[in-house]
């Protein structure tokens, strides 16, 4: 992992296309501004991981269409 030290208000540029700016640093929180082309998806990692976890769980579901239909009759 590349590690850089930046001060408030400074930025880094990735591949000439993506700019990440440290807008504000306060109380252990960093406010980050990101400018990127519109096909670049930016997500908070924990949300991505939650989705991944949920998908893995869903992939394990083993139910037959018949059993699934029964739930509608209850």
């Amino acid at each position: 992992m590349l590690i850089l030290t930046r001060k408030e208000g400074e930025a880094i540029v990735i591949d000439g296309k993506i700019e990440i700016k440290l807008l504000e640093i306060e109380d252990g929180k960093v406010k980050i501004g990101i400018e990127a082309p519109k096909d670049i998806e930016i997500l908070r990692k924990e949300i991505y991981l939650q989705t991944q976890e949920e998908n893995l769980e869903a992939g394990k579901v083993n139910i037959s269409p018949e059993d699934l239909r029964k739930v509608l009759l209850k």
Binding site: D39, Q50, T51, N55, I63, P65, K70
Partner: protein, 147 residues
């Protein structure tokens, strides 16, 4: 083309119905092709992997089940899926079914968005506080969904 499915044996399908997930799905990055098998007289459908017969997600149409579900797709998703018209788009939510089937939950924060015209799809992760990954499909106060 023939597709071996988990629940419906081998299906002969028109290759044009295959949906392409260019990035796969989180957790299933290598799964790029699926078909939707619609449930007969049922709100439950299946998102069946083309290459892995054993992988079939149970899916629902969230707008049918969660009446006030209301989402706005981020621009990146519109761009990647080449969405131009709303009527080309269908939305599904992946369902997790625990031992007690009635406790099944739908992932409303990560809907499967399909552009039918382009056969392109993506699990779009919404940054919307109202929706999480586990919403009960059957709620006490909810009317029978039947179908």
């Amino acid at each position: 083309m023939k597709i071996e499915t988990r629940n419906f044996g081998i299906l002969e399908v028109d290759p044009n119905i295959v949906i392409n997930f260019k990035e796969g799905l989180p957790g299933f990055e290598e799964e790029k092709e699926f078909i939707v098998i619609e449930g007969k007289d049922s709100p439950f459908h299946w998102l069946q992997s083309v290459k892995t017969s054993d992988l079939a997600f149970v899916i629902i149409n969230p707008f049918e089940i969660f009446k006030d579900y209301d989402i706005k797709l981020p621009k990146t998703a519109l761009e990647k899926l080449k969405i131009e018209k709303e009527e080309d788009v269908v939305t599904y939510s992946i369902v997790v079914i625990p031992e007690d089937i009635r406790e099944m939950t739908a992932n409303l924060s990560g809907p499967i968005i399909i552009n039918l015209r382009e056969r392109l799809a993506k699990q779009v992760i919404l940054e919307d506080d109202r929706y999480g990954t586990k919403h009960l499909v059957f709620q006490e106060d909810k009317e029978e969904i039947g179908g």
